[in-house]
Symmetry: C2
Subunit: 344 residues, 2 copies
């Protein structure tokens, strides 16, 4: 760990987290490092007993730096521009900040960072698990063994990832974490991502495909990793899903909106694909969703990442960013207006 930092100047900081969030994001040594970086920081333990305390806190402390996560109250409702006047940087420990931060604050120069790619390894790990589960029918067997008293028979189908053709839709941080996890099983890895330079494909030794049609038609396993931009809304169509080979595996650990879920349900019901989903168009997934109960569908309740034990990776990124901000150096994982607008 790099402890070679200098406090450029003392800043007023507000750490607005629940006790659980603080413990998960800044365990042990990370909490001590945060204390060293921001000796004057005020720590608020959420949730607040009285929501009006949120306004009072801002009046009292008028922080330049806010450290926030899921439990942090919005900067929108109860705070006036006057309260927020001194705020220069929000170091958000989770993903989207749309609930927390009004767009105009960023437009007016507020610096915001989030967990960025620090969660990529755990989401990639989730994708690998879902691939293996779909091939092995592990979700079917979890239900059949626990609830239905079953055992295998001569017709039981099991498949391996060894030697399979894997297609990645998207080639950002998660895909780049996933590639080395796939390597012990297969070298047949392709990706579709129009804006990523050829040099990155070469660096990861991943074959570039130039159309989604080609990706779906020539992959035994497709992993959905595309960003939930307006351009990607329902980009995975029924026609693409039907282009996959018989017995193919479709995994989504990106966002539900990327897939035409009604089409996915139609294809899932036919049983010719194995489908594994961590994300859905409507979350929480409605109790009566037709996806629930299908034997060829693996379901998780949006647990991709970060796992509880790896929230520390976001905490470590936050410490790097706070140190850089104190020194006036560039930050990682900055939530620009472009990032803000495409977040979901």
């Amino acid at each position: 760990m790099d402890n070679n930092y200098q406090i450029v100047k003392r800043v007023s900081a507000l750490i607005a987290l629940s006790d659980q969030e603080f413990a998960d994001f800044f365990p042990g040594e990370l909490a001590r490092e945060l204390q060293s970086l921001l000796p004057d920081a005020r720590r608020v333990r959420l949730p607040l007993a009285d929501p009006a305390d949120w306004t009072r806190l801002w009046q009292e402390s008028s922080p330049e730096l806010l450290i926030s996560a899921w439990q942090t109250p919005s900067l929108n409702s109860s705070l006036s521009p006057e309260h927020l006047h001194g705020l220069r940087y929000v170091c958000h420990l989770a993903g989207t900040v749309r609930r927390l931060i009004p767009r105009e604050l960023i437009a007016n120069g507020l610096v915001v960072t989030n967990w960025g790619d620090s969660i990529a390894p755990t989401v990639a790990e989730c994708a690998l698990m879902l691939i293996l589960m779909a091939l092995r029918r592990a979700s079917y067997w979890a239900v059949a063994m626990h609830r239905d008293g079953k055992w295998k028979d001569n017709g039981t189908m099991t498949e391996s990832l060894i030697g399979r053709r894997v297609g990645l839709h998207g080639f950002g941080g998660i895909a780049r974490s996933l590639v080395p996890m796939l390597r012990p099983f297969t070298n047949q890895i392709a990706a579709y991502s129009p804006h990523v330079p050829d040099a990155v494909f070469a660096q990861y030794d991943v074959r570039r495909v130039t159309t989604l049609q080609e990706l779906f038609a020539n992959s035994d396993v497709v992993v959905e990793l595309a960003a939930a931009t307006p351009a990607n809304y329902h980009i995975v169509t029924e026609s693409l899903l039907r282009a996959m080979p018989e017995g193919g595996v479709f995994v989504n650990v990106a966002r539900g909106s990327v897939v035409d879920e009604a089409a996915l349900i139609r294809v899932a019901r036919e049983g010719r694909l194995q489908i594994a989903l961590d994300v859905f168009e409507t979350e929480p997934l409605p109790p009566d969703s037709p996806l629930r109960g299908l034997p060829n569908v693996t379901l998780l309740p949006h647990l991709g990442g970060p796992t509880r034990d790896r929230r520390r990776d976001s905490g470590a990124l936050a410490l790097r960013n706070i140190r850089a901000w104190l020194r006036g150096e560039p930050l990682e994982a900055v939530v620009t207006l472009e990032v803000y607008d495409r977040a979901t």
Copy 2:
């Protein structure tokens, strides 16, 4: 593929498999290679319409070589020593041959091979999947999402393999296949296997531990890979399981008899460990087994390996062995009397 073989002499061979077994073990090119190696082989399609045909077949063909798998009738019941007089080599495509071959045939010089370590990669893959599922609580969520209409809440626990200490009980073929699959997640890999030389540990960069107590006490994840020898019967005791750290993961893809299952059930019921099992003391697992229904237990019906699509690896090993046998060269995966006696 090595097609540089010579038929030393024509031998009479009997291929006694079901159509499904033949297609799985010798798909495409492998079937053509088998045909080239054994042009005079007689192929019997199992199951036989009349069990008496088995005796008649041996009278007619008196094979020197038998290619067998799960569906092949026993050499025990309906065949006399006279029928088996010419038999010199049984190339068995599956694991244990105890059901198929009387011990005295091997004692009297019959050469037998089985699938050996050709299945190791798929069993290792199953172990990795079970580790990830246990950490992520994926079996719990499979049941909860499909049958109980649930979604996550603030208390939902998820964990990652990243940076975890993994302990392997056993360091044979499966463990050696598993190590590279674990590397993208962790370098903290230890193993306990008293008879494996230090050089092998060094080759795989795995730390040797000298007692099981040390392995269980200092691993976040323990993978059971020990052979089902008499010495290993119930070697995993309640005391070892209780030595694991809180929240630890115990995976068994070896054999049920290696673990004191009554003790495992007591520990499982307390919920402090995550447990993932592909094998059991009694198989099929009884419908009323207390393991069924526990939320911290992942269950599979002995599907470790090989998966259906990788039975071809056993077929490829069989072709190598048949070619070597025709040339009088040494064989792989030989079922010696020692192997025969410890098989389960």
